[in-house]
Each structure stands twice: as C-alpha cells, then as structure tokens.
Symmetry: D3
Subunit: 138 residues, 6 copies
Amino acid sequence: MAKMYLTRREVFSASHRLWNQELSDEQNFELYDKCANPNGHGHNFILEITVAGNVKGESGFAVDFKKLKHLVRTEIIEKVDHKHLNYDVDFLKGTIPTAENIVRAFWHVLESKNSEAKLYSIRLHETENNMVEYRGEE
Amino acid sequence: MAKMYLTRREVFSASHRLWNQELSDEQNFELYDKCANPNGHGHNFILEITVAGNVKGESGFAVDFKKLKHLVRTEIIEKVDHKHLNYDVDFLKGTIPTAENIVRAFWHVLESKNSEAKLYSIRLHETENNMVEYRGEE
Amino acid sequence: MAKMYLTRREVFSASHRLWNQELSDEQNFELYDKCANPNGHGHNFILEITVAGNVKGESGFAVDFKKLKHLVRTEIIEKVDHKHLNYDVDFLKGTIPTAENIVRAFWHVLESKNSEAKLYSIRLHETENNMVEYRGEE
Amino acid sequence: MAKMYLTRREVFSASHRLWNQELSDEQNFELYDKCANPNGHGHNFILEITVAGNVKGESGFAVDFKKLKHLVRTEIIEKVDHKHLNYDVDFLKGTIPTAENIVRAFWHVLESKNSEAKLYSIRLHETENNMVEYRGEE
Amino acid sequence: MAKMYLTRREVFSASHRLWNQELSDEQNFELYDKCANPNGHGHNFILEITVAGNVKGESGFAVDFKKLKHLVRTEIIEKVDHKHLNYDVDFLKGTIPTAENIVRAFWHVLESKNSEAKLYSIRLHETENNMVEYRGEE
Amino acid sequence: MAKMYLTRREVFSASHRLWNQELSDEQNFELYDKCANPNGHGHNFILEITVAGNVKGESGFAVDFKKLKHLVRTEIIEKVDHKHLNYDVDFLKGTIPTAENIVRAFWHVLESKNSEAKLYSIRLHETENNMVEYRGEE
C-alpha cells in the first residue's frame, strides 16, 4: 500500500485585475500598484495539482493520470482559459482574483469532485518568479 | 571585426483581445475563436530581441547588454507590462494585437531608437507552444 | 506584407531503435552503441515546426496557429505519439529512425499538406542536449 | 546540526509498455489506453532524488553531491538509460512499469545502498505534465 | 484564514571556492575536487524563498509579493550578485560557501528581517542538477 | 543528400572578470560596472554548438552526436568548467572574457579540430536573459 503523490501540470492564459471595491482608488493603487490597471493584464498561469493515493496492485496506478487530467481540464481549465477572471468565471465571482484566492477557489471546486484520491496541494505560478501553494490548511 | 548576434530576453504580462471591428461578430468568433472573448485574456509574453554588431577591441563588446536591456525596458516593457494591449499602448492603437502585429510594432519602435547595432530579429512567445519571429522583411 | 516565421511546438513520446540491417551486429553496436539496444529505448521528442508567411491585414495573422496546430497534430503527432517509430509509423517504414531521418520524413509529410504558408524549418530535440534541424535543403 | 534536503536530478531515456498479463486485452486497452501499445513507447524520464542529512562542520556538506551523483548513476541510471523497462532491468522484472511502480523500485534499490544520508523523496517526471513522488510511506 | 505558501524566485551570478583552511591541500582537493580550484569558479545560483502566512480578506494577499521581492533583493541579491562569495559578502565571512552553508546564512539574514510572514523554506539550485533546501531545522 | 544542422548543448560553471588593463580603473567601472568586481563573479554558461552536414545513407547520421559530444567536452568543457576564465584557460589568455570573445575563442578551437562537419554557429547563454551567437562571420 505505497502512498504516492501525483502532480498534473496544466497551463491557462487569462487576465485579471486586482481591485477591492470597498477601498478607495488611492488605497487600491497603493495596495495593488500596476496590478490595479483598470483594463487588466494577464498571465500564462501554470497550475500544478497534486493528489495523494495508494498504489493499486492490479493497475500499478495510485491515480489514473488520464482521469486526473480530465478532471482538471473539465472543472478548471475549460472555465478559466482565455477568460477574464474578474468577470467570466462563476466560481470566482465576488472574489479579488489574487493568486491566493484563485488557488483556494480551485481547491473548493476540485475537493468536491475528486473521488479517486485525496487532494494534497495546488500550486499556481503567476510568473516565472512568483508562485503560491495551498494545501487545504485553514 | 567579428560579427555577433546578441539576444536580450524580457518577459511582460499583458492582456489582449483579437477582434476586427470591420467584421461581423460571427466572422470574428469564426476567425479568432476563444481569443475573441469580449473581456480579453492574457499571457506572460516572452520577448527575445536580437541585434547584430561587430566586436570592438577596447571593450570586447559588440553591444553593451546593459544598454540593450535599458533600451528594451524603457521603449517596450514599461509600456506593455501589466497593460491591456488593445487599450493602453499608444503604438498599438488601431492595431489588432496578434503576435504578428505586436512584433512588427515593436520593430518600428526599436528600429528608430537603436543606434549602436542593427536590429536583426524579434521573437515573441505567446505560450509555451506558439512563437512568432519577425526579421524586418517586408 | 511583413514576412513572419511562426513556430508551433509539440511533444510526443515514442520509442525507437537504431539498427541498419545491412550491417553486422558488431558494426551496428560500434555505430549506434546503446541506441542499438534490441528492445529499443524512448524519448519525449520535442518538435518545433516553423512556417513562413506574410501578415494579412484582415486577420493580422500570417498563419492561423489553430490551423497549424491541427495540421501538425493530425499529420504527425497522432501518428507517432506513444508509438514505436521502427514498427508503428507508415511513413517511417524502411527508415533507420535517427533524428535526421525523422525530421526529413516529417518534412515530406507536411510539405504536401501545408498550403497556407511555406514550410521553413523542422527542429527535433531528442534530449535536452541533442537537437537536429532540417530546412528542406538537399 | 542544520538539517538539509539535497536533490540530485538525472535524466534517462527509456521505453516501456503498460500491460497486466492477468487482464484481458480489452481490459488492458481500457485501463492503459495508448500506453498499452504492443511495441511500447518511451520518455526522457526526469528523476529527482532527495536525501536529508545534517551539515558537517569540517566539509560544510550534508551529503557530498559527487557521491550522491555516483550512487544514482551506478545504481539507477546505468541500469535504465537506453533500456526497455519491461525487459532489460533486473529490479523491475515482474512489475508493470507505471511511474508509481518505477519510483518504488528505485526507492528499494537506493535505500539499501545509501548510507551517508537518509532517503527522503523520489520524484519521476514522465512528461512535462505528469509527475509522481514517493516518500517511502507504506 | 487559509494558510498559503508563497515562493519568490531570484537568480544571482557569483563565484566561490570550496576550501577549508584547517585541512591540508591534499585533503582539500580530495574533499572538494574541482570545486577547490584556487581561482574559483561560478554559477547562476537560482534561489527560491518560501514564506507561509494566512490570507487577509481585505487584500486577498497572504504576503505582498512586491514586499517579499524587495526584501529578498535588498537583503540578499544586492549583496551576493556579481560577487565572490568567499571574499565580498559580510554575512558569509569565515564560512566555507557550500550550498548548505549559503542557505543557512541566507536563512539567518531573512529570519530577522521578515516580519509579515513566517520563513518556511530556502532552496538554492547551484546547477541544473544539484539543489539544496533548508527549512530552519536544527 | 539532405543538409542537417545538429546542435549539442553543454553547461559549464566558471568565473570571470571584465577588465581592460589599458583603461583606467574609472573607465573600467564605467564600462563594465558590476562585471568589473575585482574578485570576479560567475555563471552556469550554457553553450550550444551547431554543425552542419549531409545525412549519410548507411548511418542515417549527418554527424555522430557521440563524436560531437566528445569533441566539445575534450576541447572546450574540460578546459573551462570550474575554472576562472581570466587565469586558468590557455586559449583565453590575454583576452577580456566577454561572451563575445569567449565564443570567438571557442570557434577557433573547434574549427581546427572538427573534421566531420562544418561548424555553423556557437551560442553562449551567460544568464537566462543574455545570449551571444557567433557564426564565423568576420
């Protein structure tokens, strides 16, 4: 019953704007700087979803990567790729789409859908230099 | 007088929307598909600027990378990073911001400003899998 | 009429064995060393297809990346991905599948199918350190 | 006595076929899809071996990377590089060479040979998008 | 109060020489091999700093990446980039600059300066194949 | 007689200092800035050697990568890896080791030794963002 951690990597291209409607313009630009640009900006977000599970003798799989890929693509990628995260994504409505809030929203989407294995970690690379990871800890 | 090709790489995060106002909505979605999404989408665009010049004996430089970096950052990156390419960039106004049109616009900006060496190639990676190069050929 | 070079990158996972049936076993192992291993070995081959074409005013495209991707996937990737290049691929039959012979075979397949733009270069990375490029020069 | 985690990265090129002889052909193709291709397929597998140990004052090393590299190359890489994992590797005989089973087999090989530091994690990237990690948890 | 792990990546170019003055020349070359070369050698060191903190509702940030970047650049990068680690860096004086000793020294520098979030991990890639991580465990 | 371009990639870790002894200290620091640091600094230099040749029917090789690798390793890598380029390398003596001068020196070394194929291009990546290419043009 060896425990394995499987990571599926996907990329999506989206835009977003960081803006808190409860703050003044000045406070928003102070807080979010160029990320507050009114027309938004975008990234090729790199997403890494890690699930944990035990290897099954019959298949030699802990999780079937084909199923994990299908899950991530249908539940996440199809809904965020080539979209504006502030306006076009149901499960992000009312959220300031910082990397932190995006990974937490992804966690809630996947946690309820993923039955074969336990969700372990979600990592989101916004740029080559900035990455956020969430492990379900509250 | 050895001829060298020097490439400076920069990354910028921007959003854009592909849309030709002279075409119908149907034609635009047929042509641009998900890139026509009304609220736009974005990328971490990777830009590679190549200039060509001869090595100078005194410095051992063909071009000073510090100056090339400064040129690319002030003329290009500061104007497009964390911006919406359809609305926020003077030299792209009135242009459909496809990768092809972006690199040609960058060429025109740099060609007039770059005096130390000859502009040789501009490459723009929109995603990990799609890249456009322009070498000034008309 | 700006001329652009567009590159589509794809990855495929395949196995191959380097072996010339007209040579002796000794000659084959001398020539191909560990690449002559009877049961074969494999790679994640990284393929870069570059086509050249002029930008069209209406679309701002030189070539539509969606069409280029479709072409490369249907004509090449679907036929070689998760395959053994010595046995499973019609257009490689009778060829020693060196990187050189593979890119030339890919060239012939794409040259006859690609109508929108001119095939300019095919690059195949066999490993992180070894890459072969063909530009149609005979 | 600072505790450090040292990771050595190696790449090997191998082929494999996923097939469980106790299942029917239909079940195998249902389970393994294109990975069940009779002639096999291959990858440039990227391997990351992490060991943990305390820094020694005299050397400033927790583990000598030269020794770790030598261990991984002689015990693993020389035995799997340019090989077919189903047929050519003693310690994989009788195993369905899924990424999960490969990392567990590597763990058993290294655990018995590694004396200088404690084996902490083995990660195997089968493609750019699929990775499996094992930490010795049963 | 979701807990997030934020990683900032930076690169610095430096040289170093591994040499323990309390050992003989022979012992040093035996221990450090080519890393003991008298004139030193160098790397593009890739540094990954991970901090952990809870997301704040007002900003949607656990940590402000702008501040983390500023901290890492002013406290670390400006002091080690384009420097010789044996001679030019105050906080490394008297230390054999192995990757292990470098990350521990960086930890001590950052631990005392970082107030917004808890330092979680420092990773230093010396080459593409060798990486050391420290998590503050003594 | 298909013409192929084969590229071998190697990495070496070295240090250097940019300094022209015929200039004043002030002029040197003005010209080379932080690259003039007296104790030097270093890089993981990434080297790409491209040779061109025709495919031979018997082998399916234009050039044997094993021989190209051997050539580059014995003539270049063994002489520059873990060295200080200003002091430790015979064929760089008396040269200011800018990327431009390094690639030209490498060209002269390889041109006289490479008999199987024609040297086409040498590319040297000093950092992730700065690269110099030389094609033998004087």
